[in-house]
Symmetry: C2
Subunit: 480 residues, 2 copies
Amino acid sequence: MQKFEKKELKKKSENLSDWYNDVILKAELADYAPVKGCMIIRPYGYNIWENIQSYLDKKFKNLGVKNAYFPLFIPNSFLHKEKEHVEGFSPQLAVVTIGGGEKLKEPLIVRPTSETIMYDAYAKWINSWRDLPLLLNVWNNVIRWEKRTYLFLRTTEFLWQEGHTAHATSAEADSFARVILDIYKKFDEEELAVKIIAGEKSGAEKFAGAQSTYSLEALMPDGKALQMGTSHLLGDNFAKVFNIRYSDKEGKQQFVHQTSWAETTRVIGALVMVHGDDHGLILPPRIVPVQVAIVAIPIKSDQKEKDIFVDKIKNELSISGIRVEMDERYEDSVGRRFNYWEVKGVPLRIEIGEKEIKEGFLTVFRRDTFHKEKMNLVNFVQKISDLLDKIQVEALDRHRKFTEENTHTVDDYQEFKKIMKGKRGFIKSFWCENKECEAKIKNETKATSRVLPLDAPEEKGKCIYCGKAAKYRWYFAQAY
Amino acid sequence: MQKFEKKELKKKSENLSDWYNDVILKAELADYAPVKGCMIIRPYGYNIWENIQSYLDKKFKNLGVKNAYFPLFIPNSFLHKEKEHVEGFSPQLAVVTIGGGEKLKEPLIVRPTSETIMYDAYAKWINSWRDLPLLLNVWNNVIRWEKRTYLFLRTTEFLWQEGHTAHATSAEADSFARVILDIYKKFDEEELAVKIIAGEKSGAEKFAGAQSTYSLEALMPDGKALQMGTSHLLGDNFAKVFNIRYSDKEGKQQFVHQTSWAETTRVIGALVMVHGDDHGLILPPRIVPVQVAIVAIPIKSDQKEKDIFVDKIKNELSISGIRVEMDERYEDSVGRRFNYWEVKGVPLRIEIGEKEIKEGFLTVFRRDTFHKEKMNLVNFVQKISDLLDKIQVEALDRHRKFTEENTHTVDDYQEFKKIMKGKRGFIKSFWCENKECEAKIKNETKATSRVLPLDAPEEKGKCIYCGKAAKYRWYFAQAY
């Protein structure tokens, strides 16, 4: 097993951003790459991504979605076919101009997203109503050139899944986009233990080329909102551009209605930020690579007896499906080994030493609360499993409570400005849905509309900025 | 379910290459992409890749290998650090020169392989003997510019896994490279049902920068050999270039010894070529997305009774883990529906119509032999499962037999030339291991040395070309 060096971890309570970068490096989730803006995802971080993939992939397949693969390179001309789409992505493109030693006639764009290259194929594949719905998903890497980057949260290259579906009707497409939103919300809350505010984006904030964008927003410890995923109703915008038509049951030609939706490695950043503390990561049990670390403490008496005891504990936990790792690095001090697992955010540490073996119990340490308990061996697997469930639930509860405490219902713009200058958070305010008001609010407070929750009741209100009639309270926040 | 159009499939028996492209398109494994040399992997093809991933990923993890992710872009200077490596890859590079609207100071290479960017990180991560072995694997996409491309077999972009390990000693690294070779061989033979000749590459054919390359070669129906995967012993070549050192137990600085190994989407091409026939694909049961297609035939009598019968068959097969798909496209003719599953190479088709329901039996059709049998319902799940196993074994047997029949032991160069002008195949000949002889043989016959099998006995022979003393019989063939 790898040697570790204890270096002082920066404090979350002092500077979130410094701590965030530091804990990602020290917990070995990721490392900086020699190419500016790119990152290396190390095994401990990648294993979280594998857990995310495994969960979402199953859910998508249950809906009948199939995986496929589309090329990394997109002809420059393709991106220009949908006006809003190309305007949205142009500043962020990486362009291949040389291939096989020769200058290319048409430069190739390294995909920032795959709408255009996929829909060119959809036009070929879809002919009849019987070809619908077409439900595809791709797990791949995309490139969006970034000036200011941030590990996981904003990198020039990131990993994601992008789902792209085509349906016969607008209602069916919209309903599908919302089903995906629900899957993401359930995943983010129940697996990542991150409280989500889900809803629809404003015109200015929606995806380049979409009819509506549904989004998942989560509040970070610094009071800024992070977009955790999006599900877009594309309508027939792209269908008209790429000529994706089907003949309906009456033999009439119709345009398809489409959706696209994505969740990315960015959510790992949210996981780090939301749950960690001054001692390192705190990872929710369902998503963490290692749920229980067994730290065997050197003993003077019978080594064989110890090995049997430790192996029995490990095997019983493993067999029941709990992800356990053994730590027998006797050459390092116990304190450093404890620290190692704390920085990594492993939910439970089981300490086994002289006393535990003689008296037949386990010392179980909870990473989130720093609570230590003596656990007798009767039914210990069930008890550990229950404890992991409890930690999972409490993690979401903590973040739900934090989100509630930092969500303000505000009807006075001065108060709005004051909150955004101070602790920030979500602000629920009436807004007339006029782009100019939103732009001015952004300019004066750095806050933008995040979402209108899908279940927001229609009310009679006045726009927080201009005072004109407004129907809904939107969520505002400064965004990552 | 999708509508299909029956179009005449080209014949494998008439022109392998035309049939190959045609069957890939018609069976919907893949499609051409608008970017030259790239391909779209459609769900039916991608599902094969997912089955490949799932098998190999488990085997690698059992060895302690962990997955990670490294950047797509490699600084130009990195590739130039290892002389042979850059010479090997230079003609095939795609180069990004523009990022975020600006000309880049240093062009970025789209990875053709990740040795250089990974080993730069290894140098940072490896310090002590306790950091070893470092066993990482990456599932990603790579770009190698190709002038002449071929679906799956040679495309500018392809998917693969690349494993990269670092060890304390050369012996340990070599042993690891061979363990991986064994995993690939077992996979290719037992899952893909492709007979493998495994061995070591000659100096001219080894990987750019490797000390030795172990390779897996398979004979295609046209008598040409296809490289199915490689496992390289890199020695300390890259360690010296990237300064990857560890302090051993005595505190002395030592260079690590490395391996790298890969299997790619190319093997799907081999799967198609080796097993298909004039009627379409024939896919081995272990790797195929759909093992059994149930074709329900329209009946005049009780529809409900039929639905119950068909559902029961489907459910019992599914529950036992067999991958079944229902085909209830009554609006299409039975003949076209049979043809659809034949082109897709689904191993078994179960036909259920009037007679089957009344008399209580299944009509089971084997795609490989075109044999139809009446199967009574007693223990039918076990019988179907046994039949799938049998088909799997017989597929490998057929290819083993083909390979043996087309492997010639030759001591006379005129005969060598004659075979290579005719039906080709593998030729086992003594070779003095001199590069010049190999180059001349290639020039005159298009054949190169493929591998020296690891268990080849040392003999006293004469080089097939120059007549000088030679110790081993090498496998020669024309290569894809």
